[in-house]
Symmetry: C2
Subunit: 231 residues, 2 copies
DNA sequence: CGCCCAATTGAACTGCATCAAGATTCGTGG
DNA sequence: CCACGAATCTTGATGCAGTTCAATTGGGCG
């Protein structure tokens, strides 16, 4: 499938959980020279919706969700970030979305906007690094639009699982353990929790996934375009 | 509403249609030094899905749609680009989406990937310009995810119209004329053409929009969060 | 061991897709 | 300038995927 396809990154190594980053795995030294590390508890906020800040971040360990709360109380998850990925990009001075840790002890690196932009001006490799982070963010968002816009609920859940298990695969053995809950998946795909559950059951019956526990999952089969696309 | 809100750009002036770009309105001279101009007919391709190319572009006049054709034949429009906006950002060597002109005589500026990146290395202001284009692309995509994920069909159409009329407003008098068809709107929002039409009718009856013709529209009212969000 | 939140399953309802048929607009050529 | 044809747009009727409401089970952690 095209959607939720992993970018062919030249750097597949992901630092192990709860370990300080090894030089070169996530960001080059120059980038890190202006950064500082933060360690977050589960559901702790990195920044809040409508807050005034414009710093950028990357994930070292754990997972981050960017989300918006609508007036009706509905939550939409815009993006889920895994180790090695950048987030928080904005051109405004205030936040349109909030961001919080999904997993316990999620570790992130923070880059103050002014300083990182100044650094980019003097060091082209930093500018390229930032661009690469932006482009990957764009690809994740595009992939999500594709999935949310065109697929049936079964297809959405399968595409989501395939994409995230792929991104998680390098750091884990067989069977990835999802950092996100069914509620997160629902709010990401714009469907209800119940529909997500039914999709899990259905996908398991069709032999496309295997569950070793609610959060422990293996994606075995390739998506069937006929069955998964809308009608 | 938060979604589909226009970025507070420092440069609101949009070049008039069918006129060669005036210095400084769209991209600074340094950026343009490696660019070339293309003029496209309606529905003419800028690049095709799965094609091997990675150049970047900006719209001078008219409108561009980025889209994907799914295996089942369904078309998903990822983004619609108006004058002053950048598109075609990819970190891969091949295209995940196609791009084509929406309006007749759409004019774009093309930036060869290698040369523009080289230029960015030597000129920080070019790098900043590119980042700004990326960040705006990210904001458009985020806005769309928000709309497609959480809203009822009526809300989707209203948010779409409010956003695009706002973006078009600066170059037109009162009542913007949409470059896109009902089919485009449907494929962008992931709903059927018929539902788009019914939404137009409903919005008109509620006094939220006024139609001077099928494509000539004025958005009069602010969206009612209670009526427009899902249930 | 017991509490609480996450996950699952069932039943009824509804918004939207689909199918079908007109109405309108626009481009093109006479 | 008008006439024709082909898109584009609009409205109606029916069916179904997914939501909502409700209840039960399961797992993790104190």
């Amino acid at each position: 499938m095209l959607q939720f396809q992993r970018p062919t990154s030249s750097d597949e190594t992901t630092p192990p959980l709860r370990t300080l980053p090894v030089t070169g795995t996530v960001a080059p030294d120059t980038l890190r020279s202006v950064a500082h590390i933060r360690c977050l508890k589960r559901n702790q906020e990195v920044f809040c919706q409508d807050e005034c800040s414009d710093d950028w971040y990357s994930v070292i360990a754990g997972a981050i969700r960017e989300y918006a709360i609508q007036r009706d109380g509905r939550r939409q998850i815009i993006d889920v970030l895994l180790p090695g990925e950048f987030f928080g990009f904005t051109s405004r001075s205030h936040r349109r979305f909030g961001a919080q840790a999904v997993a316990e002890d999620t570790t992130i690196e923070c880059y103050p906007r002014q300083r990182i932009e100044g650094l980019a001006d003097s060091d082209p490799s930093v500018a390229r690094e930032i661009r690469a982070g932006c482009l990957q963010a764009i690809e994740r968002l595009e992939a999500q639009i594709l999935v949310v816009g065109t697929m049936t609920s079964l297809g959405k859940v399968h595409a989501f699982l395939a994409y995230y298990c792929d991104r998680l695969a390098s750091s884990q053995g067989d069977g990835a353990s999802l950092p996100v809950s069914r509620y997160d998946i629902a709010d990401m795909l714009g469907i209800s929790v119940e529909t997500v559950c039914r999709a899990f059951t259905e996908l398991q019956q069709r032999g496309l996934i295997t569950l070793q526990g609610p959060r422990r999952i293996t994606v075995t089969g390739k998506p069937d375009p006929v069955l998964l696309s809308r009608n």
